[in-house]
């Protein structure tokens, strides 16, 4: 009979009227985030970095720029290159995480934040100073050692370089 289906549809919408809304009030309420979330602020540990620039080579867009000079001795295991420039242009980054996957020394991590909006494209470039000074809450993406420890970057403690290794 014409109308039964329409009536059923109306009942569905009516029941949804009294259901709890699905919306998350974003700035006030935190969006539940997975620890693997591939966020914007990269976490970089200079102590672990040898300056091999694997990350720069593996980046599909070539947005990582690394300039080094030999002679730095800042890595516990031995000599390495000292980093002069480590620019990540996150204005063009697509957060695929291949740089993190490529890093053989667990020095580079994806970040966990997503609120780094800027008005100018130039301000979107993460420089080496910013990487050095920022609080590092690395995402557990491609870092199973952090996952084993049940580390949650969102709201967790910042990690130092000794804690993040394999």
């Amino acid at each position: 009979m014409y109308g039964i289906g329409i009536a059923k549809g109306l009942m569905v919408t009516l029941t949804n009227l009294f259901r709890k809304p699905f919306t998350i009030q974003y700035p006030e309420e935190a969006v539940p985030q997975s620890p693997r979330f591939r966020g914007e602020e990269f976490a970089w540990y200079e102590e672990r970095c040898t300056g091999c620039a694997s990350c720069a080579k593996y980046c599909p867009l070539g947005i990582i720029r690394i300039v080094t000079h030999p002679g730095g001795a800042n890595v516990p295991e031995g000599d390495s290159y000292a980093i002069d420039v480590f620019d990540i242009d996150i204005g063009r980054c697509m957060f695929c995480g291949l740089c993190v996957e490529a890093c053989p020394y667990d020095a580079l991590f994806m970040g966990s934040g997503f609120e780094r909006g800027q008005y100018r494209r130039d301000d979107l470039i993460i420089t080496v100073d910013e990487l050095r000074s920022s609080e590092r809450r690395p995402s557990t993406w491609f870092r199973p050692q952090l996952e084993e420890r049940d580390y949650r970057p969102q709201g967790g403690e910042p990690l130092s370089w000794e804690e993040v290794g394999r």
Binding site: G3, T13, S34, P60, M94, C96, A102, W141
Partner: protein, 367 residues
């Protein structure tokens, strides 16, 4: 006295609410009836195939995310299968199961988007769309748990998947499997018997089986025309040959069948995921292969049943670290071949609905 009338030509698009992206159709109308359709493509052409020639095999995975941006997993899977075929790599079993789970979740999410927008094209004030997106959000949460991203996933790698699923993923997916059927029932209760939807979609935009085959249509468009052709059955990849599922096939090939088919496929996908979650073995998830894969000289074609249809990658290797040629057989573009056959003679309102029921994605059409 007879009135002199003449046909009206309308440029439907590139900016139009229901062309699902930037797509243009030059349509000639006689009153409201369509006399001729000429699709115009290319507004979203980014040269993915050319870009792929300048990237290593691993880096191309990120490009495939952006083809059909509502079903990245299927694109990942198709590409990765092609490279594996080219280089002769066999992924571990656990990885294959994880891929199937991911691809089927993606199918559900893509079909939800398709159904929602289909109803939006029918003019349902976004209510079914919101319901569909509500559940899609749950799937995106699962994806975020799995691989840290919601849309551009880049989950699969040559020789497996990038990492095993986290421990919290398994209870979450069981939970999803338990509540999702109820929501699908709710859509069906709201929509399937709705007389307005029936009168708008039933026997509208009928596509005959022979035409569908001749037009190389694939996926729901082909199956709704009554052709039993599903690559998961016809040419099983990964572990589909160990899973039990049915292929829903339409009877008439009209818009209503395409809608019913998507709902039925969501149910079948849930069945597949359930089996995968039960069967998945322990073990490694990634074959140990060098980061820079150098497949032998040759070519390979691999295809998957993506939510939109047969998505194929034809890769040619010259032995270097980058593909020599990467051709993408995109289902959305080729499904549009049927456009003239099923639109001409119908009214403007039917045209929008029929176009919505084909379910194209401009990222994939223009690549």
């Amino acid at each position: 006295m007879t009135l002199r009338t003449e046909p009206v030509t309308i440029n439907l698009g590139p900016q139009h609410p229901s062309t699902h992206g930037v797509f243009r159709m030059r349509i000639t109308f006689d009153g409201e009836v369509i006399l001729d359709v000429e699709p115009v493509f290319g507004y979203l052409h980014r040269g993915s195939e050319k870009l792929a020639e300048e990237r290593t095999y691993a880096q191309v995975v990120t490009l495939t995310d952006r083809l059909d941006y509502v079903s990245s997993m299927s694109n990942n899977l198709a590409y990765v299968l092609a490279v594996e075929k080219l280089a002769g790599i066999q992924p571990p079993e656990r990885a294959m199961y994880l891929r199937v789970i991911a691809a089927e979740l993606q199918r559900i999410s893509s079909h939800l988007v398709a159904t929602g927008f289909f109803l939006n094209d029918l003019g349902a004030l976004a209510t079914p769309l919101m319901y569909c997106f509500r559940e899609r959000e749950k799937i995106l949460d699962l994806f975020e748990m799995l691989c840290g991203a919601r849309i551009t996933l880049s989950y699969m790698r040559v020789g497996g998947v990038f990492q095993d699923a986290p421990t919290e993923f398994w209870p979450a997916i069981r939970d999803f499997l338990s509540f999702m059927p109820e929501y699908v029932d709710e859509y069906e209760k709201m929509l399937t018997g709705n007389e307005i939807l029936l009168s708008r979609t039933k026997d509208v935009g009928i596509l005959a089986g022979e035409t569908a085959i001749n037009c190389s249509a694939s996926g729901p468009v082909l199956r709704s025309a009554g052709v039993n052709w599903d690559l998961r059955k016809a040419d099983p990849y990964d572990v589909y040959d160990r899973l039990e599922f049915d292929v829903p096939v339409g009877t008439v090939g009209d818009n209503y069948d395409r809608y019913l088919l998507r709902i039925a496929e969501i149910r079948q996908s849930l069945r597949i995921i359930e089996q995968c979650v039960d069967q998945i073995p322990e073990g490694p998830v990634r074959e140990r292969i060098p980061n820079l894969v150098r497949p032998p000289v040759g070519d390979a074609y691999a295809h998957v049943e993506s939510p939109k249809g047969e998505l194929g990658f034809y890769l040619v290797s010259d032995g270097s670290i980058a593909p020599y040629r990467c051709k993408i057989r995109s289902p959305s573009l080729i499904n549009l071949t049927v456009l003239r056959d099923i639109l001409i003679g119908w009214k403007l309102a039917d045209m929008i609905v029929t176009f919505g029921s084909i379910d194209i994605n401009m990222g994939e059409v223009d690549r």
